[in-house]
Symmetry: D2
Subunit: 161 residues, 4 copies
């Protein structure tokens, strides 16, 4: 594996109980990110997170799961590196902070919190079948979401409180 | 001061650069919460947070600020107890976790993250001149927001990951 | 109650299952801190934490508990302001960060972590019947611990990573 | 790379300004952990952390850095996966939580905090030229430290607050 440290880190936010369309979208996003050489960060659990990890892993990509609980065993089987944070929902902020750009799939509240935190701290955020929020760039397909995410790399604003 | 431990803990989320209307609304919310005997939790900084603390303090209420930075001196002058968390935006999750109910004023991204985290973990959330989000109860005035918040006490759901 | 924001914030670290001597020491420390006008920060649970809060509360002092869990009801009855952090042991770092100075009573591992974090980030630390660690100032009695803590106020070093 | 999720996760704690002996020890620990198939977790910065990562990376191992700051660029060049936590010293607790076992090299305060947090939450801890703390298993060499760490896998106690 080539050194991942120069690679983009892309976070995928999505629900643990997605629709069939969201599942497919998340898996395609994961696959396309892996092909682009990105490291995929997710919350490490099931549903859209698992689908994205599966897509990435099958394409030879590296997947990192930042779990809300303190037990690594909760990670889905396609997570290569699982970090059991024990932070509960505060790990949503950690996921955003650790990423260069966020892709949000679907319309859950956890996903919304990650979109809002990203927009708050200046991490570019791309939505796919997700919330309609001013500032959230809307993608029309998984490939479009990944293309938009890669174009926004390096556009992370300085953090501000 | 009577023991505050049996009192409701109400978090107010709002922007550091509010409109004049948001400022007035936040101050009225703070005042009404203090009169109802609630402990007011905010992010401890300026703008709507400061206005809410000023309203509460002037009505004899207790105000707690959970600051994003590591320096207590950043608290607005109406914060009675300032906790310098050093957590950056992750303190938004801490604010929600420490509260029984959330009142959100105005439309910033930080406020949106607090609404989303509240709805995610089952903390009742009331909006006033804020986001239109499914699940966010809409209030028509500061007094209405406080009345709705007090009615929702004890309705916090079990946390779930 | 006069405004607590200009008061010193003193953290007391101590075990939840203390010896009788540690209990008495913690209670005396709490009482002396309250008489000195300090805000007492603890982990909010039982044992030495509860004894310190009882001593402080009986002397009219203000007590803040930063709980490891997400349920405020776990606070001991002498905590005036309880913040349910849900951070588990990471709240030990939060306690140190929020304080101007640390008094450590007894020899538990949690207490040791708080001593080490304080010494790491430049928060002055005073030990009473506690660990023998280079850099930890040793007090001979509760009154001596409080006197030493108050003398060290303003001596917090800049944080460094 | 074979799937790392079944591998042991071993945290190495050590100073950013180590002695020559600590540097050599950390590098040897990293190398031996990689040969044993472990994932190496460190704080991601320089000194002993960098030496351990260098040793592990040169032996083909996987290295994860949990950085205190919010900027991934602070990671040493041998960190494969860098997580910018922005948690400051609270990431010491995250490092312990994410690991199955801890190896502590040298005598800094940050290292002591990680030892104490590990012993507090039941993560086995091995010391090498480190603190003399009851409960900290003492190793006589880097190879001995790694052998002891691998023997303690699966001995993590249930967390308790």
């Amino acid at each position: 594996m080539s050194a991942p440290r120069g690679r983009p880190y892309v976070a995928l936010a999505g629900p643990s109980a997605p629709s069939a369309g969201e599942l497919r979208a998340a898996e395609e996003v994961g696959r396309a990110l892996a092909r682009a050489g990105a490291v995929l960060l997710t919350g490490g659990l099931g549903g859209a997170m698992e689908a994205a990890c599966r897509g990435a892993a099958q394409a030879g990509g590296l997947t990192v799961g930042l779990l809300p609980g303190a037990d690594r065993a909760a990670a889905n089987p396609h997570v290569a590196i699982a970090i059991a944070t024990g932070l509960g929902e505060l790990r949503n902020g950690l996921l955003v902070r650790a990423a260069d750009v966020l892709i949000a799939v679907g319309g859950g509240y956890g996903t919304l919190s990650e979109i809002a935190l990203a927009l708050r701290v200046g991490v570019p955020a791309i939505g796919l079948h997700s919330w309609e929020i001013s500032g959230l760039e809307q993608a029309s397909s998984p490939a479009d979401a990944v293309a938009r995410a890669l174009r926004r790399l390096g556009h992370r604003s300085a953090e501000h409180d």
